[in-house]
């Protein structure tokens, strides 16, 4: 159990670092996949089996594939090459500032402890569905509307303009 946690978290952190450090976006997308699978393993360790399955299906199966698809559509232009050192100071400052804030947060969170007795049926599909379709029914319906709006908006944004002369 302990080794599973450290293995999965090492996988997640290594994937996240590779995502932001990789040269090309396609490598970033594959590193993001590693992070997502590591987090799915952590969800299993946390007895959230349904969420682990959703994580793999929605993130690995839909979001990463969408990223890869867009990278393929854009072609070589998705990998811009050019002078990168222009704002080196700003980037270094943001790394230092965010790293310091993150370090303080991690140090504060590290001390959190709680007893962990898991009742029967925790994290099963039935239990999570009872929560979603019980106290969270209204947010669930709002999320469905949000997804519909997002799909319509994505199509409206990405569709080619056929009428010439429109505002670009």
């Amino acid at each position: 159990m302990v080794w599973a946690f450290w293995g999965a978290s090492a996988l997640a952190v290594a994937g996240a670092l590779a995502t932001i450090l990789a040269r090309g976006p396609i490598r970033s997308a594959l590193a993001l996949l590693v992070t997502i699978l590591g987090l799915a393993a952590l969800f299993v360790l946390l007895d959230a089996h349904l969420l682990a399955a959703i994580q793999v299906i929605v993130y690995a199966g839909a979001v990463v594939v969408l990223f890869v698809f867009v990278i393929m559509v854009l072609g070589p232009a998705a990998e811009p090459s050019g002078p990168g050192g222009r704002a080196l100071v700003a980037r270094g400052l943001s790394v230092i500032a965010l790293g310091w804030i993150g370090w303080r947060i991690v140090r504060a969170l590290w001390a959190a402890e709680r007893a962990a007795d898991v009742p029967d049926g925790f994290g099963t599909t039935v239990a999570v569905a009872d929560s979603i379709f019980g106290p969270f029914l209204v947010p669930f319906e709002l999320v469905s509307i949000l997804l519909l709006v997002a799909v319509v908006g994505a199509i409206a944004l990405a569709r080619a303009k056929h009428a010439a002369g429109g505002p670009s």
Binding site: M1, S9, A12, V13, A16, L17, T19, I20, P25, A29, L32, T35, L39, L42, F43, L51, I54, Q55, V58, Y59, V63, L66, F67, V73, L74, A77, A78, P80, G82, G84, R91, S94, V95, L98, G102, I105, V106, L109, W110, A111, A112, E113, R114, A116, V118, P119, G123, A127, V128, D130, P135, F136, V143, L146, L147, A150, V151, G153, L157, A158
Partner: protein, 101 residues
């Protein structure tokens, strides 16, 4: 023994990596992936907090909503990237300067 603190600290580490990636990378695609890392870190915190307070499933339910919203965000964000590429022929965020004063 792995406790709640370990999971929350890991969540903080992942969120920090995502925030640094978002502010330092110029490629819009990588910036969007950094946002996904941050959303995943928050999800881990929700699920871990739910595991160590298992009277109800509020944390897992909110993590479920976060996954749905992240999918919508990725769809709209990538549509914006495609739209930007159509206008500017680039995916570098510092060349999207149409609103520069």
């Amino acid at each position: 023994m792995i406790g709640l603190g370990h999971y929350l600290a890991l969540s903080g580490v992942l969120f920090t990596i995502g925030a640094i990636g978002f502010t330092t990378r110029r490629n819009v695609l990588v910036a969007l992936m950094s946002i996904e890392i941050m959303l995943n870190a928050v999800n881990l915190a929700f699920v871990a907090a739910n595991r160590f307070r298992p009277e109800n499933h509020a944390g897992q339910t909110i993590a479920f909503f976060t996954i749905a919203i992240a999918a919508a965000e990725a769809a709209v964000g990538l549509a914006i990237v495609v739209s930007l590429f159509r206008v500017k022929k680039t995916v570098r965020s510092d060349e999207a300067d149409a609103m520069r004063g």
